[in-house]
């Protein structure tokens, strides 16, 4: 299978400038600098690359939205990888930091940006040392700093650490956090492309997204676009975790069947149990039952199946697992991570938690399930950012596909007991 991001991922010392360059690293810069910035943006558009952080917004289009003639502009690389089940960016940062730097240089050149920040979640402190070292090496080589390779183009890249808040992965919350504030999401509009970091035009891209850019510049947009499905181009890193024999990050071409990922790449279900359900794109997307395991792993196919590709975290759940318990764990996560700004999210996540907890204690009533659905309806799409929607996903999808598991808890519950 075509490997773009993970081609040499386990090569010894890939994180050093020497090895990275030996493998063709930083070759794209020269190519890029021979072109006009807008040509790079056009190429990224033509490649069909979409944001790998979760929302899947076309990357080239995002870059072209920057407010005209407003400077300075900023690039923020979103390395706040916190979506449960997702650990692909960590592997890239750990093993191939130069690839990200190269991608950031290309993006900055294309968007005429002179300052970039890599916002890493606080728990990645270890990776920040690796990243800082790589940045230093790139400086020494003249790939960063003033007048890069004699082009007159200047760029500084800095790492910035968060401090433990899932919500900072939301791009506008990330900006608030980077500006030294609480990671509460901002109102949109204005969108970051118009008023982002320090109220200046800002590009925010996920680590994986930026890492793809050198390939597009080196190999051409067509080559990238030739991979994948009609609307989902290229490859995707998938973090496969849960009840599989070989959990790990795998790079797959868009459109690969989920069955192939679970059974071929990840070795199938652990202990030879049976697949019960899977969450294809991180905890924020609806889960699917085993019956849909043949769904293609791409944006459109997953959407058609009623879920999303999200961040590319495939969480596999076997038939021994308790879906209600798993759902409670996810509600608990969103309750803990809600910033508390919007009433439906702040109050709703906690209420859902209280109810599901009761159900698990056999203290619920049958109508609790309907109530859960209605509360979810009152939360979904009514808040500032998608965190509430994300919390609703596991609840609604688990009820949809595994309603009987909830109902099981009420069999011996006397009517009216709370």
């Amino acid at each position: 299978m075509t490997q773009i991001l993970f081609k040499n991922i386990n090569m010894k010392d890939l994180h050093t400038m020497k090895v990275y360059e030996e493998q063709g690293g930083y070759q794209s810069l020269k190519k890029a600098f021979d072109q006009k910035p807008d040509e790079i943006i056009d190429a990224v558009k033509a490649s069909g690359l979409r944001g790998r952080g979760g929302a899947g917004f076309p990357t080239g289009l995002k870059w072209s939205f920057l407010a005209k003639d407003v400077f300075p502009r900023y690039l923020c690389c979103n390395a706040d990888e916190s979506e449960p089940g997702t650990c692909k960016d960590r592997e890239l940062l750990l093993k191939n930091p130069h690839m990200l730097i190269e991608g950031m240089i290309l993006c900055s050149y294309a968007c005429r940006i002179e300052t970039g920040y890599i916002y890493m979640r606080g728990e990645f402190h270890d990776l920040s040392f690796i990243m800082d070292k790589a940045i230093e090496e790139a400086h020494a080589k003249g790939y960063l700093g003033k007048n890069i390779m004699g082009t007159g183009f200047n760029l500084e890249i800095y790492t910035h650490l968060g401090a433990g808040a899932y919500i900072c992965g939301e791009e506008s919350a990330l900006l608030n956090s980077l500006e030294g504030g609480r990671g509460e999401p901002r109102m949109k509009p204005p969108f970051p492309a118009v008023e982002g970091l320090y109220a200046k035009p800002t590009v925010i891209n996920n680590v994986e997204t930026l890492c793809v850019v050198p390939y597009i510049v080196n190999e051409g947009a067509e080559k990238y676009a030739s991979l994948g499905t009609e609307k989902s181009k290229g490859t995707k890193l998938v973090s496969v975790s849960g009840h599989v024999k070989k959990p790990g990050n795998y790079e797959v071409v868009m459109g690969t069947s989920t069955r192939e990922i679970i059974y071929d790449l990840a070795g199938g279900i652990r202990d030879d149990n049976e697949l019960k359900a899977f969450i294809p794109g991180g905890s924020s997307v609806p889960m699917l039952p085993a019956s849909q395991v043949d769904v293609g792993y791409d944006y459109e196919s997953l959407a058609a199946a009623g879920t999303m590709l999200g961040s590319g975290a495939l969480i596999v759940i076997d038939n021994k697992a308790n879906i209600v318990e798993t759902t409670l764990r996810l509600i608990s996560f969103y309750m803990h991570e809600s910033c508390g700004k919007c009433t439906p999210c702040r109050e709703g996540t906690r209420w859902l938690h209280q109810i599901v907890e009761r159900i698990l204690q056999h203290k619920g009533q049958l109508e609790y399930v309907n109530k859960l659905e209605d509360i979810c309806d009152n939360m979904a799409f009514k808040t500032f950012c998608p965190l509430a929607d994300a919390c609703v996903s596991p609840v609604m999808s688990s009820i949809k596909h595994f309603r009987s598991e909830y109902e099981e808890y009420f069999k011996n519950t006397p009517v009216g007991s709370v």
Binding site: E81, D126, A163, S241, G242, E337
Partner: protein, 158 residues
């Protein structure tokens, strides 16, 4: 309140941090992290010192730090154990292992050992799901945990 001063080395580090940003308030998290790592706690006095560095109110510093889970207003142990309990780890039996660890250290989850060596916290996903169950102790990630491996890891720390 003037009970907190930065060391000379920290002042240098702070100057380096401030140089990264066009607006100094951006240095909020880095400065809080600096203090947290050095002191294992962020005292009100330190908040005042940071507010002076960044030209904002101490209330704002407290508002920001209380938003993030990695800052502590009560002193934590020399080893901060963040034990992931999120979905991938849960599916792989982290709950029992967390209980095991708490029993081993003879503390409640969230507590600190009497000798201030360990603090054990339940933590949301740490982005190492393919190595679940996992934990982070200070800056190091430990995956594929078992009771034996936990024994080994904790015993190896001095």
């Amino acid at each position: 309140m003037s009970g907190f001063t930065f060391s000379e080395k920290q002042e240098e580090e702070i100057a380096g941090i401030l140089a990264k940003y066009p607006f100094k308030k951006s240095a909020m998290l880095p400065l809080l992290t600096l203090v947290q790592r050095a002191e294992r706690v962020i005292s009100p006095e330190a908040m005042v010192a940071i507010s002076q560095k960044l030209d904002c109110s101490p209330a704002y510093v407290q508002s920001v730090l209380s938003f993030y889970t990695m800052y502590h207003t009560e002193k934590v142990g020399r080893y901060m154990i963040l034990f992931c309990i999120n979905i991938s780890c849960q599916l792989n039996g982290c709950d029992k292992l967390l209980e095991y660890t708490a029993d081993k250290l003879d503390i409640e989850v969230g507590g600190t050992t009497a000798d201030e060596k360990f603090t054990l916290h339940r933590e949301e996903c740490l982005a190492d799901c393919t190595n679940a169950p996992m934990m982070r102790i200070n800056d190091t990630y430990y995956g594929d945990l078992t009771e034996q491996r936990i024994d080994q890891i904790l015993d190896s720390l001095d």
